[in-house]
Amino acid sequence: MKKIGKLCVITDTAIQRKYTHYEIARMAIKGGADMIQFRDKTLPTALLIKEASKIAALCKRHDVLFVNNDRVDVAMIIGNAGGVHLGKEDISIKDARKLLGKRKVIGGTAHSLKEAIQREKEGADYIGYGHIFATGSKFKPDKPKGTAELKRILKIVKIPVLAIGGIGLNNIEEVIQTGVHGVAVIGSVLKSKNPAIAVKELRKKIYEK
């Protein structure tokens, strides 16, 4: 079984401009994040590779899992990538597996039980499921899923699930109580005054429950 982090921080430079991807990763690791997802939807390939390489090397030094969002090519090219996280519009998990091999971590997004089962069947190592609560990080036309629906999924899906969407210090206990493997966060960390401390506090809730 591959080791999937329990506290994943997604680097997002669209919802805030204060920190670069690398700075986010550094602060997150300092605060105790055990997984980083590098996400940038606008940079050209050469710059994505450059930035991802730096962050992946940092993660490796700290024994933190690095996953690259969307781009399988970038994950292939940078040697240190732990894996990729794939959404619906990306290359399929099956195809990504052909390129990345068995050992790399491949995560998939699911917005429903049906999608979660599908991701598991396709061979995902973990599922990012959400959004659990209302979130400002991404435009979401559909309603938040809530923790009751999350619980239902956890009963059926065997691979680790990371809950995502609007999770912060105020509601993380409710999420952890479902028995979910871990959480992925963006806004609650990046919009806080001190991201490293925000991560540290979230970590406490996960590991000292």
Binding site: P44, T45, A46, L47, I49, D70, R71, V72, D73, M76, I77, K88, E89, D90, I91, S92, D95, K98, L99
Partner: protein
């Protein structure tokens, strides 16, 4: 094990796709291009998400045949999965070394806008360069004034790898580019927006001597 021979830029006309400029879907368009004798197609659909681009590349590949080189813009993962022949690196795109690391047999082209870019692309080991814009074209106005035929001629003298002129190319201009030493030309609009694809391709064939 016998290794397959390395793919080379043995074509003169590179047709770059721009599905929004064409009334046909890309599969129908590919079939027309193949029927017209085109030898190289570059799939360049930057706005498509990866899943759709891969689906499209696979469909183009199955509509294609061995005599056609299929090259995809920037994405080595898609090239490998769809079994294409090459990857084209735009400015700030994937590097040659990165492509070769995973797919040493793929043909690799590079977009360049100056002599120094072209010289470094040759040094790095690219198989060919697209130099442009040589003429004024609506898509590339943001890159400043066109380079012109003199610059094309200058670059062609300085580098040994095939130089394809790009930017505002039509059949008449293709003749001029070839006279300036260009190995060939790359076109988007002139073919994509053409009402008579077969006719356009045959004009390019006469202009360049071959496809």
């Amino acid at each position: 094990m016998k290794t397959p021979p390395k793919v080379k830029a043995d074509f003169r006309l590179l047709v770059i796709t721009g599905r929004k400029l064409s009334k046909l879907n890309l599969i129908a368009l590919t079939k027309r291009l193949i029927d017209a004798g085109v030898k190289a197609i570059q799939i360049r659909e930057k706005d498509l998400p990866a899943s759709e681009l891969l689906r499209l590349a696979r469909r183009v590949k199955s509509a294609s045949n061995k005599s056609i080189k299929l090259i995809v813009n920037d994405r080595v993962d898609i090239a490998i999965l769809a079994g294409l022949d090459g990857v084209h690196s735009p400015v700030n795109g994937i590097s040659l070394a990165q492509v070769k690391q995973f797919a040493p047999k793929l043909i690799c082209g590079k977009s360049v806008h100056s002599l120094s870019d072209a010289v470094s692309a040759e040094k790095e080991g690219y198989d060919y360069v697209l130099l442009g814009p040589v003429f004024r074209t609506p898509a590339k106005i943001k890159y400043g004034p066109p380079l012109g035929l003199k610059m094309l001629n200058h670059v062609c003298k300085k580098v040994k790898i095939p130089v394809f002129a790009v930017g505002g190319i039509n059949a008449q201009r293709a003749v001029k580019c070839a006279r300036c030493g260009a190995h060939g030309v790359a076109v988007i609009r002139e073919v994509m927006a053409s009402k008579n694809i077969k006719g356009s391709i045959s004009e390019f064939k006469s202009a360049l001597g071959s496809l």
